[in-house]
Amino acid sequence: MLNVQKSQFFGSIDRSGRMTTDPKREFGESGAAQQRFLSLFLRSEREVFRYVAALVPNVTDAEDIVQQTAISLWEKFDAYDPSQPFTPWACRFALNKTRQWIERRQRWQALLDHGLAEELAQRRQELQPDFEQRLKHLEGCLGKLPQDQRSLIEGYYYERTSIETLAGRSGRSEAATYKMLQRIRHALQVCVEARIQPDLA
């Protein structure tokens, strides 16, 4: 009895066109695909995140977009050619998702309009080797920060503590806390660039 309404979700249909009825086999196959996907995706996730963040730097927003990207990647995973690298494939989806996401948000449109999104994505690609070179010193530079700055950076980026809480903890205002984060990043930038000098010489 063939049910014409068979869903996509359960769609393992064997060669003779019947639904497979062996649940073990059915799950074995989709389970294996899931594992393959998960393993590829998790390896690329940070890179995809940075790709998105180059366009939408706000961390929670970028994470939302990455999450949506993951879902559409999984949905289109059948179309993925395993002989090709996964990350660029994933980044193409991420760019699309980012575009869709921006469409509904006027503020971000203002930032990325007139082709700037594509230009940024493109230029970032070109600068990648240079960024790698500079940022390999980031960990060392973090280690050199004074204790209070280190714990602020750690609270914001690693523990993901809210700005209200961080401000409350240090007795600063929220605006001052943001300012402090900006200054620390600036200090880190100066530090990694100072370290790069000998390499260039």
Binding site: F9, K24, G31, A54, R185
Partner: protein, 541 residues
């Protein structure tokens, strides 16, 4: 807005974009600058890159972790939050995902090995066994010959476990989780009690399992919603509290409570000697616990991915995933993508609770008022209902899973009876005509506190009703009522009897327990499909 470069204004706006606090005017100004000035664009890209590295690479912070809040507990800072090693740290989605990255290599192996083995071991009528716990995870575990051969997924009945070396995690049906480190002898007494004869045990007891009791030769530790470690031998017991509070009940002396960061040593019949808790002594067990949390996160991620697919099933009328519910939410969104038939559910009362995984939300039904109201106007030739439920008790004669209001023609009532029978009532085209399709008892008390998958398929064409528990059919019945079937107004976890303000007891049918997923399909799922729903949603590997 005209933004000069280089300038403090530029630095400010670039930072504000990273923090998500930039105004539209600022963003527009930045857009104009970046399109016209290549240096500014490169500078901006680098600043953003530095920001996104910090946000996406937790390894950068590993050096701080080692010096700050790991495993070291100077006695002077006893009880200070910062120095307590959290067993169940509150993690943002981002942190969790990054944890997942670290854990994935190990976990994929577990996934590959776990699914088949677990399924087949658990399938043999778990409902009537005397099991009180389950072995959920091991690392290099070597069991003594005195212990029956155990594999991950083995159901554990009361009795002794001897682990010679390695680590193992045991989840009690009450929800308490123990990690044991060999050499250790542990005696399981009930879903709520165990005896550590000798060796080291790390216990984590979530709120529903409060009151879990761990005994040793010298004393009893009664958990008050905590994590604690016990190290026992014949003549001495150490109890270390890492989170929350426990109550010590030494043989004859009075009770004593121990707070977070405290530890006690009891030797012979002496009074307990207080000291500082020492997480270092339990370090391998904490690490093991961390890893298992990470693999739980992988399981949750897998479920979310398959959820996204399931939502697109064209025969899906209603799907509630109970995700991200806050106390303020009063609607339960219908996630079925293509139908547009089912409306959102309305949450009345109910507590927000933990679902199958720590980061998943569920709704807990407890009082007679708690319910999710919904309405589906369509008629169906066939229906399939599927739910993930964690029962707390079978308090009523009839405990509602999903029941249409009243007794209208063509509607259905799906419920669990007090004696553990799954029941489906289908009402015929005329008032007074109905058919009850009841399974044999399947849900004995020992399943309380465990997440279970229940499903029922009503096939109008084949004239058959099938009940399922955890993916397996438990009974098949010929159906005498003919389609169409309807839902109309209905409730999850309760029933609107339309019987006036003081209904008689048999008409009170509220559920005691939590739900964290529900589906209604407009067709009859096959056995294989129901099983797949179960496999895709089952909490552990």
């Amino acid at each position: 807005m005209n933004l000069p470069f280089p300038s403090p204004e530029f630095d400010h706006v670039a930072a504000a974009v990273c923090h998500g606090s930039a105004t539209e005017a600022e963003m527009q100004g930045l857009n104009e600058l970046l399109r016209s000035n290549a240096d500014a664009r490169d500078q901006y890209l680098f600043q953003v890159e530095l920001h996104s590295r910090l946000a996406s690479n937790p390894d950068l912070f590993s050096q701080f972790q080692d010096t700050n809040d790991r495993i070291s507990l100077p006695a002077s800072k006893l009880g200070s939050q910062r120095n307590v090693v959290p067993l169940n740290p509150v993690r943002t989605p981002a942190r969790r995902r990054l944890k997942v990255v670290l854990a994935v290599a190990a976990c994929l192996v577990l996934i590959a090995g776990g699914i088949g083995a677990l399924w087949f071991k658990r399938s043999e009528n778990g409902a009537t066994s005397a099991a009180v716990a389950m072995l959920t995870r091991t690392v290099d575990a070597r069991w003594s010959p005195k212990t029956h051969p155990l594999g991950v997924g083995s159901a554990l009945e009361p009795g002794s476990l001897h682990l010679e070396s390695g680590l193992a995690q045991i989840v009690f049906y009450s929800g308490a989780r123990l990690v044991i480190e060999g050499p250790v002898e542990l005696r399981l007494v009930s879903a709520n009690e165990a005896v550590c004869v000798s060796g080291r045990v790390l216990a984590e007891v979530p709120t529903p399992a409060r009151g879990f009791r761990l005994r040793t030769g010298q004393l009893s530790v009664v958990d008050l919603g905590t994590s604690f470690g016990v190290s026992a031998s014949q003549s001495r017991t150490e109890v270390h509290v890492f989170k929350g509070k426990v109550e010590l009940q030494p043989g004859k002396a009075g009770e004593q409570s121990l707070a977070e960061g405290q530890a006690a040593l009891v030797q012979g019949s002496e009074l307990p000697q207080l000291m500082a808790a020492n997480p270092e002594a339990f370090a391998p067990m904490f690490e093991f616990q961390e890893r298992s949390l990470a693999s739980e996160a992988v399981r949750y991620d897998q479920w979310r991915l398959s959820s996204a697919q399931l939502n697109r099933d064209p025969s899906l009328v209603l799907r509630f995933d109970f995700e991200n519910l806050s106390d303020l939410d009063s609607t339960l969104p219908n996630k079925a993508a293509r139908t547009g038939q089912g409306e959102d559910g309305i949450i009345v009362g109910c507590q927000r609770a933990e679902g199958r995984w720590r980061e998943k939300t569920a709704l807990e039904f407890q009082s007679v008022n708690d319910r999710v109201r919904l309405a589906v106007p369509n008629e169906f030739r066939a229906m399939s209902l599927s739910v993930w439920v964690c029962l707390k008790g079978l308090d009523r004669d009839f405990n509602s899973l999903f029941m249409s209001d009243g007794f209208d023609p063509g509607t259905v009532h799906w419920l669990i009876r007090r004696d553990g029978v799954l029941g489906l009532t289908v009402f015929g085209p005329r008032f007074g005509k109905y058919q009850i399709l009841a399974s044999p008892p399947v849900s004995s008390l020992e399943n309380l506190g465990m997440w279970q998958h229940l499903a029922v398929v009503i096939d109008g064409k084949a004239r058959e009703v099938v009940h399922y528990v955890n993916g397996s059919p438990v009974s098949r019945h010929a159906l005498t009522i003919s389609p169409p079937f309807r839902v109309d107004g209905a409730e999850l976890g309760n029933w609107n009897a339309r019987a006036g303000p003081n209904p008689e007891p048999s008409l009170i049918r509220n559920l005691s327990g939590s739900l964290d997923e529900f589906e209604l399909f407009s067709r009859a799922l096959s056995d294989a499909e129901v099983r797949e729903l179960y496999l895709k949603g089952k909490p552990d590997l």
